[in-house]
Symmetry: C2
Subunit: 679 residues, 2 copies
């Protein structure tokens, strides 16, 4: 007996507000240093409420998204069609495929590489150039001390279980999730209580501790899927690729798991470069690495990926943005926490209203939401399948004041392509241990008189090991022989002549700590979603074949046009080659195809590559240009092809402009108005 | 008693031809399977000749480059001036500097990052787009099996010695080199024989084996420079950063030491993508990693760097190039092996002549030499400090038919920025070990009848470990229990029922092996040389200050122009901001500076950043544009600034064009000719 959507929504709203108020009680108890038992009880109550909330959400979800099984089959078929086209056209290739590949590693083939390069160029134009950001390019290889300070060494982990006989590793939460889903979908005999329990597990397992996961795996008798062997208890596995820097093996390091650290460690130099003024933004595009336990979900969960990250540092007292008015009128599909709490759906909200009503914390964050929206939709992300989802107040990290994810819908479910975090304070200045050698001038003066300066210099020049050895010896023996090279002799250093210590030092000193807005783009995920949003099929001319098309805008398309002679013919081929050369000079990427394949086959390849325009040489003086999606055609003189393509590629003219006036007509018009002026 | 330059040259020429002829004798002996003692004797004679050759070269070098000590002081001072400017303006920052840095790792700050991005964009335009190359983007993380096949696991090493007490590591050849240089420069008492010996060591140590290096280190009593402790014997240290892929720790891997492997492992897919036709080129830009033992030479020898590599595959029967005529008339400073042998210096040779005379092996290689030359000189590399140096016939690898290095002179001495190797054959198809499970149908049929199919499927599905375990058990016991899951029971497998083996398999099968031309660009090194070639100093206005300038062409410059109001004034600032906005729309990277610093200071910063044009707002209707190197100025109307800058940036107009006619004048002229036509 399924609940109605309405009653579920009402129910969810009530539960959400209970979660919120219980969350506040917990905070209040902690703040007032209440007894631990009292706090624990309150947390337990909060967790019960969260479970309830998630269960209702899931139930509601299943009603809203209709017949789950059917739609998952359709999704799977759609995903397979996209993947087949992508692989056939070499958008990507599993890395080291001739060696049977390595899970989670993919190479971009020529069209994929071109799409990526176009996306990154546009990102640079849209963010770095437009906002005058300070772009940096930092090392991937990172010493452990940096990632210790950032918390990655201790906390960048997933919980793992091992097949006790073969040693094969699995992500513990994946096994539990698969078990619950399987049971729910395939075992119709289970009781309603059991079903509810499994659903609760599914809704909450992201927050399970190692112990909770282990207990559930035992309780359900989950075994290794490949061998049916028993499994170990779950334990954390660090997801960074570890290595060692230099030949001694003494400097542990990693290839970076994110690019942001490169910006943070250079903060003080960038701040100085910006003449010690706020606000300013730093940006970085680069590779990051994550040693996933068992990668799934194709291009969405990989072991190596390109990130584009921005850290926009602002004065905490002034988060206004001078260009906010430029995005204030954008209507964006948003899902604010208030709406989640009151059981509404995501809705279009003008950004200006979102900021003025306090839904979005401040103008600068609002400005970035608008810019991210423009970036994604201009690439070709479907704005109806893009929503900005706000984290609940009690779910965001302690340092954040507001947090929105740009969620792009794909066949795998919602995937966050861009995370926007507004931090109240830029992470604390880091502490490092520094060697401090403090000579005692008075004692040294008494001991060495005229030679004091030489002795002090030699003492201060000691490296860490020498100094710590001396400290140990002074502590045990009270004095030590010490060679002063500028005096060319040993002197006797006494314990009271200097102090040697290691001190924690703040690395950068600032009068105040800037706030920071952090938009972080997973480029590979965005590109994958773009592939799905751009893909469609249509019937071939004969009506007996389904053809695949990517509707990439010219900005993103791997090639802007294809050039081919209608028939194999030396004159036409020469014209095609001349056109190709003029396109190259104009910087328009294209392919020329003078092979003898049928024109239909060539169009099919062009469509599968997402090429927006096909130029067919069918006379020696003019050509036919066909637009991919509408199949509309225009005739253009050979010597004007490059300028028409330039206008279409760089967005000075749309296809509609060209269709209406044609470029030629446009020029004629311009000239005739000039002539009219002359008369 | 120094020999004259002339006599040395004559001497060198004779020795080189002796080396060549002795090299040929060795080859002939090997080819005829002569007795080992005879071959060894001939090799020894060859080595003696090589030593002699190197010693003469070095002597000649020291005469040619004049007073060594003085010029090295100048070079050092120049290098320091460049480095100071680069660091002050944040072209680069030692990585993790706030944690005291890691040797050999550098971050690019904003201007350095912009220069790099410009260089890579131009590389894409000049090579990938212009030549329609297939660009790919492959994983950095690479499983060991791939780098085993490429030889990196065994041979990508440097020889290392350890401080026997502290464990500090040193590159063995560096210590020996430093010792010899130091002795020669500082110990004037050594005999001429000793000096000659040290020089011989310096000239030949690149070819020393571990034993030879160890013997010299012992003989000279070389000890650890920091501690004076004794040193270990030299031993090879692998220069790859090692890691482990996946959670099991069972898949050893590395971050790649070069990008070319990514192209080779994808060869068959790319060949198919190109419709199985030759020639075609694949290209890749990406990070590569080398765990240097003790990095020196600043930005020239680093542990992480960007490579841009091309593999141009050609038919070994046809190495002509249809566009060779476009570069045939370029006169390029070349140093062919014949000239090296006959004691000449490098000289300008037209490329057409170099190919027609057989100096350069084939048209395609010649074409790439021309394109590399154009690429480097358009970036701003000084063509007088760029030469193409041919490897001697007996020095190039066995698989190469010709090999040229583009050597760019820097203060560190000649550095190869681009290596061009022409391989006769693309490296052999790789062999991999593959598990082969071969069920014996007859025996299985007899044993299992109707269940045969299930048993065969289960046997074939075994993974490597299971299969090898079964093989071992069958060999020891003759039979084994085996669970067939589709039958839900154990069956008894006998030794004669299947064969299990590991077989070497060729990974790709081709009818013929293409030749390949491999231009490989070390982007960071090229950029560093570009910095040196672009740097100069000039006197400030007052004549009491030396100002630093980078003379980057607009193509490379991190910002194309600076915009500043002459004085702090709201109207001027508004104009500056309007201009900035129009530049942004036009895609022209620039900086705007409305701070109250003096105009002189702003010009100084602009020059140190290598910005080619400074736009000073000194009225509300027009501005002054000043060119960096000539300091020539023109006046331009505010609304025309963006179009003038676009023309200058994208090379439609040079500064000279603008100076002559001015953009405004140009348009007026155009219009007036139109008007004349109208009349």
């Amino acid at each position: 007996m399924a609940a109605t959507e309405e009653s579920l929504r009402r129910n969810l709203a009530e539960t959400l507000s209970a979660v919120e108020s219980q969350g506040n009680s917990v905070k209040a108890l902690k703040a007032s240093n209440a007894p631990k038992t009292e706090i624990d009880a309150a947390i337990e109550a909060l967790n019960r409420l969260k479970l309830e909330k998630s269960s209702i959400e899931r139930e509601l979800q299943s009603i809203v998204s209709g017949n789950g099984a059917d739609s998952s089959v359709t999704r799977e078929a759609f995903r397979q069609a996209v993947a087949n086209t992508l692989e056939r056209r070499l958008f990507y290739i599993p890395s080291f495929k001739i060696y049977r590949g390595v899970a989670g590693l993919y190479d971009y083939g020529p069209p994929g590489c071109a799409v990526k390069s176009n996306v990154l160029s546009f990102w640079r134009q849209h963010f770095v150039l437009e906002e005058k950001m300070l772009e940096v390019d930092c090392s991937c290889v990172t010493p452990e001390v940096v990632l210790k300070a950032s918390g990655h060494v201790d906390k960048f982990t997933d919980l793992m279980v091992k097949d006790e006989k073969t040693g094969t590793c699995y992500r513990a939460d994946h096994l539990l999730k698969d078990f619950c889903k399987d049971k729910l979908e395939k075992d119709l005999s289970i009781s309603t209580e059991k079903a509810a329990e499994l659903k609760k597990v599914l809704a909450t397992l992201d927050d399970f501790s190692a112990e909770e996961l282990g207990a559930k795996i035992k309780e359900y008798g989950i075994i290794a899927p490949d061998t049916k062997n028993p499994l170990s208890d779950p334990y954390p596995f660090n997801l960074m690729f570890q290595t060692s820097i230099g030949p001694s093996g003494l400097i542990p390091g990693y290839v970076r798991p994110e690019t942001a650290q490169g910006i943070f460690v250079n903060f003080k130099y960038l701040y100085y470069y910006n003449r010690n003024k706020l606000p300013f933004a730093a940006a970085q595009i680069g590779q990051a690495f994550k040693n996933e336990i068992s990668p799934r979900q194709g291009l969405l969960r990989v072991r190596e990926f390109t990130l584009a990250e921005i850290e926009h540092f602002v004065d905490p007292e002034d988060k206004s943005h001078p260009k906010f008015f430029e995005v204030a009128n954008l209507e964006i599909l948003m899902f604010p926490r208030e709406d989640q709490m009151s059981g509404q759906s995501a809705r279009n909200i003008p950004l200006g209203e979102a900021v003025s009503k306090g839904i979005v914390n401040n103008q600068t964050l609002g400005y970035f939401i608008g810019r991210v929206y423009l970036f994604l939709t201009r690439l070709g992300i479907d704005k109806k399948r893009l929503r900005f989802w706000q984290h609940l107040a009690n779910e965001i990290a302690h340092y954040a004041v507001d947090c929105w994810d740009a969620e792009i819908e794909s066949s795998y479910g919602d995937k966050s392509g861009v995370a926007l975090v507004a931090q109240e304070k830029f992470s604390e200045p880091r502490e490092v241990e520094e060697l401090v050698i403090l000579p005692m001038k008075k004692e040294l003066g008494l001991g060495f008189r005229g030679n004091q300066k030489n002795v002090v210099e030699a003492l201060e020049a000691m490296n860490e090991k020498e100094a710590m050895d001396m400290k140990a010896e002074l502590e045990s023996k009270g004095e030590v022989e010490f060679y002063v090279c500028t005096l060319r002799k040993n002197v006797c250093i006494k314990k009271n002549m200097l102090s040697i210590s290691k001190e924690k030092k703040k690395v950068h000193h600032r009068v105040f700590t800037p706030s920071v807005i952090e938009p972080s783009f997973g480029i590979g995920r965005i590109i994958y979603c773009l592939y799905e949003h751009s893909f469609y099929t249509r019937l071939g001319k004969a009506g007996d074949e389904l053809l695949n098309v990517f509707r990439f805008p010219p900005l993103v398309a791997p090639f802007k046009c294809m050039v081919f002679p209608l028939v194999q013919n030396q004159k036409f081929e020469k014209v095609a080659e001349d056109i190709s050369e003029s396109l190259t000079v104009a910087g328009i990427s294209h392919q020329i195809d003078i092979a003898g394949t049928s024109i239909g086959k060539r169009y099919a390849i062009s469509d599968e590559l997402g090429v927006p325009f096909a130029i067919t040489v069918d006379t020696i003086s003019s050509v036919t240009i066909q637009e991919r999606d509408s199949k509309d055609q225009i005739r253009v003189k050979v010597h004007k092809v490059a300028s028409v393509m330039t206008a279409l590629t760089y967005g000075h003219r749309t296809w509609e402009d060209i269709l209406e006036k044609k470029m030629g007509g446009y020029l004629v018009k311009l000239l005739s108005s000039l002539l009219r002026i002359c008369r």
